[in-house]
């Protein structure tokens, strides 16, 4: 009975309950105080899980011994909140299978499904999961109390510091520079990945490559050529290949693994090779050792990518990327549906760098100079999303804003921009906001939970708003699911809001993927759209002719802000993302 109650309660909270069970639950709740107490506790447990899950990292407890946590949760958590990826599902299946096998929930036999497809980030659940000896589930709760703090945690072992010309396996969208890597398989077909482990070791890996990130201190290599750089602080970092372990004593070494051979060479310092069937051996500068195969499958490390090469190649790639992007903007600005296109980079607009032009955000559309955005307050000119040669504008200091003015009436809107978010400091963090927020004017911003918010004022008469507050006005916020969390600091996102009155839809995108899609209800339907004076990166004058302003500046950068008098479709938006994305995306 108690068990049925709990089952039905959780089914209700998950919306999977049958009508009959729901009515049974209502009767129980009405008659039985103990049932009500159980229900209230269950709601709070469920809520707590929801909140914790947004952090998306299983919270390590002090009792989790290093290495005991052998579950493979191969996820780049950098974008976890955007889209539940197929990988998530495989992980869950794997996890579930593991629990079935281990946790004493014994009424299932473990079956074995090898995942049959590659996943985003080329991360595959490790089919050969090492198994921690999890206790019987019913005894999971030890009597002892451990004091745990509740600081925010991010799970991961390494970051993808730089990615150059990487081709990910077919059918997955790959990882981005700056992504945090948790344990699991990393695989790519070509290009170079530079991986910084949290212990301080760096691997520069050339594709085709396949490796398994095991922990902050170890990785197993199945395929690929790499250079490992291990500073003294990371002494003990271990690379596994061909059933042997290369334990680094604070050095630099090279490794090549092919299907039939594996060879290691010490470039500087000393490593120790351990394997099960032979005694450990020391290898010093210049020495080479075959873990598998022999010199007949000759390997040469003289052309192995160095740190300087990565730097150089990246610089060249960055310059090419910037040139391509400028050409993309030259094409883009011909689009007649564009109302405005603001860039930090002048692009053909003004060769001289007068003081005046440094205080502009250049509008690539329409008559020069008249429609440029004007930098107000402490907006900083910084490097943009294509490295040191590119331009960017940083709005992180209070009061930073770019003032714009856009006259005219419009029948639909598409707002698109690239934003680098270094923190969501305010209740509302501005992307583009019309002064005054009068009828038909747009507001586009990000809330503290990392959701995009788009709205258009329906009726700005004070007191018409929901709830009857004398100052409330009538409008509706179209919210997306959260797309940003702390692990995304310093990453660029392509953000889009499409307001489509003819089709009565508001669709929002992050990096080309839909994150929000809502019907415009008749009462919120606005056809006569305007912008007027407005601001990029802040909100200027909440009420016209008032000295007060809200603090909504975006802690980060905004660039390539395009405003269209049209509702762009998903293909056009995907194309904007592809053409505008930084290197390593």
């Amino acid at each position: 009975m108690a068990d049925r109650l709990k089952n039905v309660i959780f089914q209700t909270l998950q919306r999977t309950v049958s009508r009959a069970d729901f009515d049974w639950l209502q009767d129980r709740l009405e008659q039985d105080d103990a049932a009500r107490q159980t229900y209230l506790t269950a709601v709070h447990v469920s809520e707590h899980l929801d909140q914790q899950a947004v952090d998306a990292s299983g919270k390590p407890t002090p009792s989790d011994a290093p290495g005991a946590d052998a579950m493979s949760t191969p996820l780049s958590i950098g974008r976890q909140t955007i889209e539940s990826t197929p990988v998530m599902h495989w992980v869950l299946v794997a996890v579930a299978a593991n629990i079935i096998a281990l946790a004493g929930i014994t009424w299932y036999a473990r079956t074995h499904d090898a995942p049959s497809r590659t996943e985003r980030g080329s991360v595959l659940p490790d089919d050969a999961m090492a198994t921690s000896s999890a206790p019987d589930a019913s005894s999971s709760f030890a009597a002892g109390d451990s004091d745990t703090t509740t600081e925010r945690l991010i799970a991961g072992h390494a970051t993808l510091r730089r990615a150059i010309d990487i081709r990910w396996p077919k059918g997955n969208s790959g990882l981005h520079e700056g992504d945090v890597l948790t344990n699991g398989t990393l695989q790519f077909d070509s290009g170079v990945a530079e991986i910084d482990f949290f212990c301080g070791a760096t691997l520069i890996v050339e594709g085709p490559a396949k490796l398994n990130l095991e922990s902050d201190w170890s990785a197993e290599v199945f395929l690929g050529r790499l250079r490992a750089n291990v500073p003294p602080v990371a002494r003990g970092f271990t690379v596994k290949a061909a059933d042997a372990q290369i334990v680094d004593q604070g050095t630099e070494f090279a490794l090549q693994v092919t299907p039939d051979a594996a060879c290691v060479e010490v470039l500087r310092g000393q490593v120790e090779i351990r394997s099960t069937d032979t005694p450990a051996r020391q290898l010093r500068t210049g020495q080479r050792h075959w873990l598998k195969g022999s010199a007949s499958s000759a390997s040469d490390f003289h052309d192995l990518v160095t740190n300087d090469d990565v730097q150089r190649r990246r610089h060249t790639a960055q310059s090419d990327r910037l040139a391509d992007w400028r050409n993309h903007i030259r094409q883009l600005r011909r689009d007649e549906r564009l109302i405005a296109l603001y860039t930090a980079d002048a692009i053909d607009r003004s060769a001289e760098s007068s003081d005046e032009s440094l205080r502009r955000m250049f509008n690539q559309v329409g008559a020069p100079d008249e429609r440029d955005g004007v930098l107000v307050g402490p907006v900083e000119r910084v490097s943009g999303r294509f490295g040191n040669e590119s331009k960017g504008l940083d709005f992180s200091r209070t009061g930073a804003r770019v003032r714009t003015r856009t006259d005219g009436q419009y029948g639909a809107f598409t707002f698109a921009c690239w934003a680098r978010i270094d923190g969501l400091d305010h209740v509302y963090n501005a992307l583009f906001l019309a002064d005054g927020y009068e009828n038909g004017e747009p507001h586009w911003q990000i809330d503290q939970d990392g959701r995009l918010l788009f709205s258009v004022m329906v009726d700005d008469t004070p007191g018409t708003g929901l709830g009857g507050h004398p100052q409330a006005r009538f409008h509706h916020l179209y919210k997306t699911r959260p797309f940003w969390n702390d692990s995304n600091r310093n990453q660029w996102f392509h953000l889009v809001a499409v307001y489509d009155p003819p089709n009565r839809r508001v669709t929002q995108y992050v990096n080309g993927d839909i994150v929000g899609d809502e019907v415009i209800q008749p009462k919120f339907h606005v056809q006569d759209l305007r912008i007027g004076p407005a601001e990029i990166g802040n909100w200027g004058q909440p009420l016209r002719n008032s000295p007060w302003f809200a603090v909504r500046n975006l802690n980060g950068q905004i660039d390539e802000l395009a405003i269209y008098d049209a509702a762009l479709d998903a293909n056009a938006i995907q194309s904007l993302y592809q053409q505008g994305k930084p290197l390593g995306y």
Partner: protein, 196 residues
């Protein structure tokens, strides 16, 4: 979601930013928002409508704030209780608008639950601590599975639909873990209350 009426509701700054009364109110609401939210969440089983009810509640509280601050002796302690009374009515009127929807409790159930929940208001912190302790005692992989299905946009059903024949198993595993966690929290709370 924070349901504060940011500068009085919806994008309008306060008439007078120096209005102490408003600042006090916003401070109170910010401090107790979570507790009120949990209360509302308990009355609306699917979670639908929680944001609306919270917003309505916040606005109503602001409208009646004078009455409250004139009578309250210990402002912080009484605020949650007072706000929950308002939230209860707001939840009921939300329910009346949607009584014919699936999975909305009937009025009498909401009344009963609200009464029980009000009695538990000052135990919120204990409960949260109990949940955290219990969650910490779950093995890492089990905890991770639970959190995965609670991630935004996820549900067991959705994951199950993508993983075909394993759906029932996955569902049972998750369900067992939830019950396990619930049992742990209940027994912790019971032992706490028996120790005063």
């Amino acid at each position: 979601m924070n349901s504060l009426p940011d500068a009085p509701p919806d994008d309008v700054p306060p008439d007078d930013p120096l209005d102490d009364r408003y600042a006090d109110f916003v401070g109170l609401l910010a401090r107790h928002d979570q507790a009120v939210r949990r209360f509302v969440r308990a009355l609306l089983p699917t979670g639908d409508g929680v944001d609306d009810v919270m917003q309505e509640t916040a606005l109503e509280c602001w409208r009646k704030y004078d009455q409250f601050s004139d009578t309250a002796t210990e402002v912080d302690g009484e605020f949650t209780r007072w706000a929950c009374v308002i939230a209860r009515y707001k939840a009921l009127s939300w329910q009346r608008d949607r009584a014919r929807d699936r999975l909305v409790f009937r009025e009498s159930v909401i009344e009963q639950l609200a009464a029980s929940a009000e009695l538990r208001l000052d135990r919120g912190d204990h409960e949260r601590e109990a949940i955290e302790r219990c969650l910490d005692q779950l093995p890492a992989d089990q905890r991770r599975l639970l959190l995965s299905v609670h991630s935004p946009g996820e549900s067991v059903a959705r994951i199950a639909s993508e993983t075909g024949q394993r759906a029932r198993k996955l569902y049972s595993v998750v369900q067992s873990l939830r019950k396990l966690l619930l049992r742990c929290v209940e027994s912790r709370l019971a032992s706490e209350s028996s120790h005063g």
